[in-house]
Amino acid sequence: MSLFISQTLAILEKDLRTEWRTKERLSAMAFFAFLVVLIFNFVFKPGSPIMQSAAPGIFWIATTFAGLMGLGRAFAIEKQNDCLLGLRLTPADPGAIFLGKMLGNVAAMLLLEALILPILVIFLDIEIVGVLPRLCIPIILGTLGFASVGTLFAAMSMNTRLQEALLPILTLPVLVPALLAAVEAFHGILAGDTLSEVASWLQLGGAFAGLFCAACLLLFEFVLED
């Protein structure tokens, strides 16, 4: 078990280090997410109450789209110089490779979300300071659910003719319950609901994250092998 954890951490460290040295992926993701938020300001009437009630949706659309872009990149870099083959040749457990990759994506997504939230506060004039600790729970659950399914599908879509273009087609329909849970819980908390008032949404988000983290961990083996 400790071997599994050390393998996972090694993969995670590798991913974080490559990201730290290039900063390519995160900067592209952050800029893209920023643009998505900006575009929404043109679509709706600026400063209208519709914008404020749409804030949770805008937040999740920005993170999901930017996240999908980042997930595609996470495996695209592994394709260069046949790095994925190298990873497969290591004695690492496929589950550990998956978990390492997934946690790398979770880290990137959480950083991205930390950047988008202040932008949302500035542009949409929403009040989050008081509810921020509560708000973290649906955000983390949603991110875990997204990263688990997304990492698995990213590995799959890289091996098709469409490459990254297939990733959103595979991921978004499956992600519907996680997104609904994340948006509704976000919405409720922003409106002043306590955690117990949005409990059913949090349970759904937790169930999705738990179920698919486990399922993807087991299924990744089949995606990785040749």
Binding site: N159, R161, P173, P177, F212, F222
Partner: protein, 237 residues
């Protein structure tokens, strides 16, 4: 010579007989529902379609697990054909739903839990088909599709729960109607279910035999290519 595929033929004939009688059973034999009127008739086609959709997706799910476990091509064929026939019936559900929804709810599309679930399932299995079309390697495609089908099937209860929670106010007409049916409606309904089951099985078996034939053709082609290269080598020597 391939022997003629008997199950597809038998179920096909039964489906043909059933489908000629089904309109009579649905339109004439069963009485007019007092609240919904004539629009309710679509249920004799809509609900059986939904049943067959679940049957197809379940076959796909079970065969996918068996494929990943046993690595036998025949399970992949069953999974693919199950998904394809399931998707066909899912499309029928999505097409017949609005026909009923327009006169009853006053809109073609309502974001009702049941409707949303079927739409999302439809999208997942369309993605499954796309994964098949855009794969470069057939062996890899089979594994990827199996993985997607398992994920999609596991997602089904979550989508159902999520959409229910999201749209709590939706009328429970569909289920309430099924239970308290008068006898004539019940007979017509079960007749349609059996007919659709026959149609489902006919399509499924036909599709599986077609896919098996295609698989056989591919292996024969590969065999001929091998022989030609050997002959070519012998000839040049």
């Amino acid at each position: 010579m391939r022997r003629p595929y008997i199950p597809a033929f038998v179920f096909g004939i039964l489906a043909l007989i059933g489908l000629t009688i089904a309109p009579y059973m649905a339109l004439m034999y069963a009485g007019i529902e007092k609240d919904m009127g004539f629009a309710q008739k679509i249920f004799y086609y809509h609900v059986p379609s939904a049943f067959m959709m679940y049957a197809g997706f379940s076959i796909c799910f079970i065969s996918s697990i068996l494929y990943l476990y046993k690595r036998d091509k025949k399970y992949d064929i069953w999974a693919f054909c199950g998904a394809e026939v399931g998707l066909l019936f899912c499309t029928l559900v999505l097409l017949t739903g609005p026909i009923w929804a327009k006169p009853i709810w006053g809109a073609w599309w309502v974001w009702d839990a049941q409707l949303t679930l079927h739409l999302v399932l439809w999208l997942i299995y369309v993605a499954y088909m796309m994964l098949h079309s855009y794969s470069e390697d057939s062996l890899q495609s089979a594994k990827f599709r199996a993985v997607l089908s398992i994920i999609g099937f596991l997602d089904m209860p979550l989508i159902h729960y999520a959409t229910k929670l999201w749209r709590t106010h939706h009328p429970e007409v569909i289920r309430g109607e099924n239970f308290g049916l008068p006898l004539d409606m019940k007979i017509a309904f079960y007749f349609c279910v059996v007919t659709f089951l026959m149609l489902f099985l006919a399509l499924l078996f036909k599709r599986v035999s077609l896919e098996k034939a295609r698989d056989e053709l591919e292996s024969i082609k590969a065999d001929i290519r091998d022989r030609q290269t050997i002959l070519g080598q012998v000839g040049s020597e």
